[in-house]
Every structure is written in structure tokens, then in C-alpha cells.
Subunit: 64 residues, 6 copies
């Protein structure tokens, strides 16, 4: 604890994941006053045909 | 916001996903009085050997 | 299973919750081909100072 | 309900999943006083490049 | 990591929570081969008018 | 989408929440290449008797 979960489209570049985890952890460290070692980040990939925004699948929006 | 997440077995037919996202969004629009654009739906697929009901994996139930 | 979780602002009127649970369950019943008894809906209330959109707390947006 | 979700690295051996689901369900049955049939367990697999601990991806820790 | 989240009705007796956390942690320790210190358990309370089963709020079922 | 959820102990100071939401949103904006308006942050408070680490409730650890 704390645990940070981010639900988003898939991030293909691992370097971007590295920066995201580093920055989220730094922000949480400051906010909670807890050491970085206590903080877990979970990156969750979502396929465009498993996400709807505004009542429409993202995979359909891209085609439009 | 609002964010609707559904954890279920995999839905193979994308047309079923389209209807699910559309209906969930309509229901949430009415309940929260917020526009459809504000509403996100996440469909989460779960494999039968990653779900337990009644203390037993779903993949084992199917065999029984 | 399936489990539907909705994260949103607090719904004060229980009648609105009743309709939301009924409609979500009906939509999931059709999409998954499973009986209503198998479907769980969790309504999660979020305070406006615990939600950020566009980098700003909702409680601050309201004041603006 | 209740619903138990475990976020962890992938468990490859299905026998380990069987035991985990059985034990979690037994513990929840006792704690909530509800029958095993009411209890759902979701096992969530996470890839080592989608998890950060201490500000670092697990996939990077392994290399170090 | 691993992180175990349990969504259920409120547990009033803290001794029951102690046992639940202890047992969940022991089961996860065995399943993942990780030390107890790495394992986090989150107990989530849900009010009966925020949970629907079978299309009906639990708070309404109790009255019936 | 993306949606960032942070599970942690309660943050009492709203100014700390403001900074957390702002920083999480900035990090996600860069990682996903999406505008800040698309990003939602949910801050989840957890009571010390609802969280276990190392098989022990946080509320019990504090007493020790």
C-alpha cells in the first residue's frame, strides 16, 4: 500500500512504462509520506474492442 | 466518470459488446444525469481457469 | 459472475439505484447468456474531493 | 458476493489455482457467514513489465 | 504484490477481519511463493443499498 | 480513459489531493499521448482496520 492501478490502452514502449511507474511512485511517495518500496503500480492494458466511451466501442470510433 | 467495469467470461461476438456498451451507457446516463460522453465502460475477459465459484474453478465445473 | 462495478458520484435516491441494478442486470443477462441470479452489481460512491477529471478535483470544478 | 480478486504474477500450475480458490472461499465463508456458492474468486495475471514496485518495473528488477 | 481485494458486506467484528487477513495472506504466500510482507489485503465494505444480486438491491431482498 | 485508481490510507489535506491528481494526470497525459480531459483519477480511502500487510491489520501494527 498504496496501490496505483491505471486502466488504459496498451503501452507498447517499455521505456514509457518505466517513466510512468517512476513518476506515479514519486507522486504517491510525496502524497502519502510513505517510502517508494511500499508503493505498487499496476498497468492494465485494454483492447479497443473492450472499451466503450460515449456508448461506442473505441474500435468502432477509430473506423469512423 | 462514471466508469462501469464488467468482469465476466470472454464475449467473442463484437456485436454483443456493442449492445452491452450502448445499454450500460444509456442506463448510467439516466441514473447519474450525465452525458454519454462522460461514461466509460471497461469489459474485462476472464479465462475459466482464473475464476472460482463455490470454491471450484469454472474450468473444472465444465468438465464435471 | 459476471460482476458489474460502477464508480460514480453518490446516488441519493434509492429508486434510481433500483432501476440501475435492474437494467445493468438485464443487459448482462442478454450479453452473457447467464441467469440474473448469477449477476452482481456493485455501486461505488465517490466524494467530489476524491475524483479528478482533467487534472482537477471535481469539488474544485464546482466552485469555479 | 463476496468477490475476492487477487492481482499477482501469473500462476502457471492449475493445481495451485485450485487450492488458492478453495482456501480463499473457505476463509470468506467463515468470515461472512455465507455459503461457498455465493463467493466468487477472480485470479488476475500481471506481466512483469506491467507491475512496478518501489518505482521500478519488476521485469527490470529481475535483470538487475 | 500480490494484492487481494475482497468486496463484501461490512464485517463489524475486528477479530474476524484479523483472521481473514491472516488466512488470505497464508494462502497467497503458498500460491505465489512470496513472503507475507509482500502481500496486501484490502477489505471493502458495501452497504446493502449499493449491491444488487439477481437484479435486486440486497436492502430490498432483506425486507421481502 | 485512462482511469487511475489509488488505494491508500485517507488523505486529510485537500491540497495534497489536488497535487496528486494534477501530477498523476500529467504523467498519464505524457504516457498515453491523450489530453488531460480524458483522464480520470479516483482516490480511494481505506481505514487501517480494513487493510492487511504481512498478514496483520494496519490498525494492529500501529499499536505494536
Amino acid at each position: 500500500m498504496p496501490i496505483i492501478t491505471v486502466e488504459g490502452p496498451r503501452i507498447k514502449d517499455i521505456e514509457i512504462k518505466r517513466i510512468l511507474v517512476k513518476e506515479f511512485t514519486e507522486s504517491a511517495t510525496k502524497a502519502y509520506g510513505l517510502p517508494a518500496e511500499a508503493i505498487v503500480v499496476l498497468i492494465k492494458d485494454n483492447l479497443p474492442d473492450n472499451v466503450g466511451v460515449g456508448g461506442q466501442l473505441i474500435s468502432d470510433k477509430k473506423k469512423a
